[in-house]
C-alpha cells in the first residue's frame, strides 16, 4: 500500500502531505503561544501600579541571541537550498552551523537563567529590602539561611518599587556593593525564580517553552544531519522535503523569539 503525495505534490493543492501537516501544526503552535502572549498581556495590564518590572533582563545577551537565531534561519534556508541543488556536502556545512548556533543560543539562555536563580531578594525585619546576586553559594546554604549570614552583591532599598524599574537614572546610578545580612534579620527571602513574581513566572515559562522548542528542533535537525545519508542516497527528493519541513518549524521557532525578545527584554 502506498499513500499518495508523500513526496510529490498533489496537483490541486500544490502541497505534499508533510508540508501541509507542518503548516497545520504551526497553526496550532500559533494558538499555543498566542494563549501565552495573551496571558502575558493580561498579567501585565493587571499588575499593581509600578509593580511590573522593567529592565530586568540583559539586553546585550538578548540581542546576541536574537542575532544567533537570525543567522540560524539563514543557514537553515541555505541547507535546504543545498539539498535542492543536490549538494550534500554544503548541506552538512550549513546545518552544522545551524546546530552550533542553536547550541550557543541555549548556552547563553542557561547563563541568563543561572543569573536569575542566584539573584536574591531578602525582606528584612526593619522593613527594607536587600537585593543582589549571591556572592558565594556555600555548601551549607540552607544552614546559613537559618543561623549564619548571607552575603549578596547588590544594595539595600527602602521600597520594593525601587527594584522594579532598572532603566531609570536613579537605578542606573545606584551603587552596588557587598551586603551582608544576618539570618536573624531575614523575614523572607527568595531568588528570582519563577515564583518571585508574575514577570519572572511568565519569563521562565515562555522562554522555557521556547527553549524546549529549540531543543526539539535541534534534535530533529541533528538526526537528519547525522543519519540522513542513507535516505539521501535512495530518495534525495524525500530527504529535501524533510529538510524543508524541519526548516519551516525552525523558522517558526525563530519567529516566536522575535516576539519574545521585545516583549520581555525591551519593554
Amino acid at each position: 500500500m502506498d499513500i499518495p503525495y508523500t513526496v510529490e505534490s498533489r496537483p490541486d493543492t500544490g502541497l505534499y502531505n508533510a508540508k501541509l501537516g507542518i503548516w497545520l501544526f504551526l497553526a496550532s503552535e500559533v494558538m499555543l503561544f498566542g494563549g501565552l502572549f495573551s496571558a502575558y498581556v493580561l498579567l501585565r495590564v493587571g499588575a499593581a501600579p509600578g509593580m511590573w518590572p522593567h529592565g530586568w533582563l540583559n539586553v546585550t545577551l538578548g540581542t546576541i541571541n536574537t542575532l544567533l537565531l537570525a543567522l540560524s534561519a539563514i543557514t537553515t534556508l541555505l541547507a535546504w537550498a543545498a539539498c535542492k541543488v543536490r549538494d550534500f556536502t554544503k548541506f552538512r556545512i550549513f546545518h552544522a552551523c545551524t546546530i552550533l548556533l542553536a547550541l550557543s543560543f541555549l548556552t547563553i539562555k542557561s547563563f541568563e537563567y543561572h543569573d536569575k536563580l542566584i539573584h536574591y531578594e531578602i525582606v528584612l525585619n526593619n522593613g527594607t529590602f536587600a537585593d543582589g546576586h549571591l556572592v558565594e553559594k556555600s555548601a551549607d546554604f540552607d544552614l546559613a539561611k537559618k543561623t549564619g549570614t548571607i552575603t549578596l552583591h547588590g544594595r539595600i532599598v527602602d521600597d520594593e518599587k525601587e527594584l522594579m524599574d532598572l532603566r531609570t537614572p536613579e537605578a542606573r546610578a545606584a551603587k552596588l556593593g557587598e551586603v551582608t545580612v544576618a539570618a536573624a534579620d531575614i523575614v523572607k527571602m527568595g531568588n528570582y525564580g519563577p515564583r518571585h513574581n508574575t514577570f519572572t513566572a511568565i519569563y521562565f515559562t515562555m522562554t522555557g517553552l521556547h527553549a524546549l522548542h529549540i531543543l526539539g528542533g535541534t534534535i530533529v535537525i541533528f538526526y537528519m544531519w547525522a543519519f540522513g545519508g542513507a535516505m539521501w542516497k535512495t530518495d534525495p527528493e524525500r530527504f529535501t522535503n524533510r529538510i524543508e519541513v524541519s526548516g519551516l518549524f525552525w523558522h517558526f521557532v525563530d519567529l516566536v523569539w522575535i516576539f519574545l525578545f521585545p516583549v520581555l527584554y525591551l519593554t
Binding site: R10, S38, P194, T205
Partner: protein, 619 residues
Amino acid sequence: MLSDIQQFPPFREPQPAHDGHGHAEHHEPGFWSKYIFSTDHKVIGIQYGFTSLCFLLFGFSLMLLMRWQIAHPGVPVPVIGPLLAKFLGQPAAGGIISPELYNSFGAMHGTIMVFLGVVPLAFAAFGNYVVPLMIGAPDMCFPRVNMASFHAYFLGGVVMVVSFFIPGGAAQAGWTSYSPLATTIPTDGQAFWLIGMVLLITSSLLGAVNFIATIIQLRAPGMTWMRLPWFVWAQFVTAFILLLAFPPLEAAGVLQLMDNLAHTSFFLPTGLAVGGQLADRSGGGSPLLWQHLFWFLGHPEVYVLILPAMGIVVEVIANNTRKPIWGYKSLVYSVLFVGFLSFIVWAHHMYLTGMGQKIATFFQATTMIISIPSVIILTCMFLSLWGGSIRINTPMLFALGFLPMFGIGGLTGLPLGLAACDLLLHDTYYIIAHFHYVVAPGTIFALFAGVYFWYPKITGRKMNEFWGRVHFWCSLAFMNIVFMPMFLQGIKGMLRRMSDGAVNYSAARVPGVIDALPGNIMQLNGVILWAAVCLGIAQIPFIINLFWSINHGEKVGDNPWRATTLDWQTPTPPPHGNFTEEQVIERGPYEYSVPGAAEDFTPQGGPAKNPTTHAPAHH
C-alpha cells in the same frame, strides 16, 4: 402522483464468495504489530473505539456512585462500598463517599466523559475508521503519527486513572479546574490531571493535523469538496476546532502546572488566603485568565462533541430514508459557520464573573447567532424524513432519537445564553440537565447509531436487531427520567456540586431571599438514582450484543445497508490499504432512489477501469 414513484426491484445482495479474510493474503503480522503498534487507520479506529467505550462505562459508574451519595448522603454505598474502602482508603472509609471523594468523582466524571470517552469515540474512533474509507483513501496521511496519537491518548487515560490511587486522590476542582481552587486543594491529583490533559491535547493535536491533511490531500479522483459525505465535512470542521482551540488550554495547563509545581501565581490573586492564612505566593495573577483560556477551548469543545455525532446522524438518516439528504449545501455552509463562530462565544460561560454589560451583550449576540446554523442543521435532518420511505432499524432508531433529544438540549440552552436568565440558572441542576441532553441522549445516541451502523463493515456481521431495539427504547426512557427532573430541580434553585445532594442547602432558609427546596424536589434525587441504575442495566444488552455478534451475528455482505458512500464499496472487513482497485468518484454522496437507476441507490464511485454510467436524468 403515486404512479410517478418508481418501484425498484428487490435488492439482492451479492453474497461474499469467501469469508472476508481472503483480501489480506500477505503475511500475518504478529500480535504486537497488529493490535498495539498498528499504523492501519482501521485498527487505530477500533483501538480508540474500544478504549473510549470502556472509559464511557467507567465514567458512568463514577456517576452512579455520585447519584447514590446525592440520594442517600452519608449512607454506605451498597454492594461496592467495601471495595471502595479497600482501594481508595480513607476518603471512602466505611464505604461512605466523603465530600472530597465526591468532588474527585465529579471532576473525573466530567473529564473522563468528555476527553476520554465522547471525543475519542466520536472524533478519533469513527473518524479514523470511516473518513479514509469515505474519501477513497488507502490510509491516513501520516499513519505513524496516527499511532502516536492513540498512544498519547492511552497514556493520558492511564495518568488520569492512576491519579485515583495517589495520596489525596484525584483532582477535585471540577472538570473546569478553576483556579485558585485547583491550586489550593492539597492533593497532587491536579498535577496528574494537568499532565494527563497535556497528553490528551497532544493526542488530539496529532489526530487533528492528520485528519485535515488526509481530507485535503487523499481524496480519490473526482471526490470534490461538494461530493464529500457530510460526515466528512463534520469531521473536517471538528479537526480544525481541535487544532486551534485546544492549544490555548494547553498553554493554560502549563501555567497551572507551574502554579501547582513551581509555586508561581499565574492564576492566584494578590492577598489570597488559604485556610485562614495568607498564602505564601507572590500574587498578582488573575483567576479570570484561567477561565478565559479554559472556555476558549471549553466552548468549541461542545461542537467537537456534537458535530461528529451530527455527521453520523446525517449518514444514517440519508441511508434509511432512501433519499438524498435535504439541503446538503446548507448543511455544509452551516457546519463551517458553526465551526467559525464557536470560537467567539466562550464568555457566555462567564456571565457571573461580572464582565460588564458591553462584553456580555457581545457574547449574547454571538451565542444567539450560533444557534441559527445549528437549527439549520437539525431542520435539514428533520426535513430529510419528509416523504421518505423510512426503514426502521436500530441505527435509524438511535438517529431518530437523537433529533428530539438534541432539540431539547439545544432549546433549553437558549435561556443560558442570555445573561439575565443565566445569572439565575448558573451552576444549578438546570445547566446539568441542559448539557447532558446535548451530550448524553444527543451525542451518545448518535454514537450508538454509528456503532450499530458500521458494525457490519468492521465485522461482516450485523448486531442483533431485537436486543438493539431493547437497548434503544430502555435507554431512551431512562435517559429522560434521569435528566428531565433536573430541569425542575435547577429552576427551583438546587445547586450542582453539592456532595450531600443539597440536604443542608434545602434546610437553609433566609426569609425573602432563600426559600427551602420543596420536599418533592429533594425526592426526585431518589427517582434519578434508580432511573440511572436502570439506565446502566439497559446498557447490558448492548455490551453483550457487541461481543456476541462478532461471531454469532447475522452474516452480511459488503453493503448490507445498500449505501451509496465509498465506505460500503470496500471488501468486508476492508483490507490493509482499503480498496482493491483505485476508486473514481462520479457523483454526490446521497444518490438514493435516482429515477431510472437500476437500484434505489447509486454508489458514489467505483473502480477506475469500469466506470458505471450516469443514471439518465428524469426531468
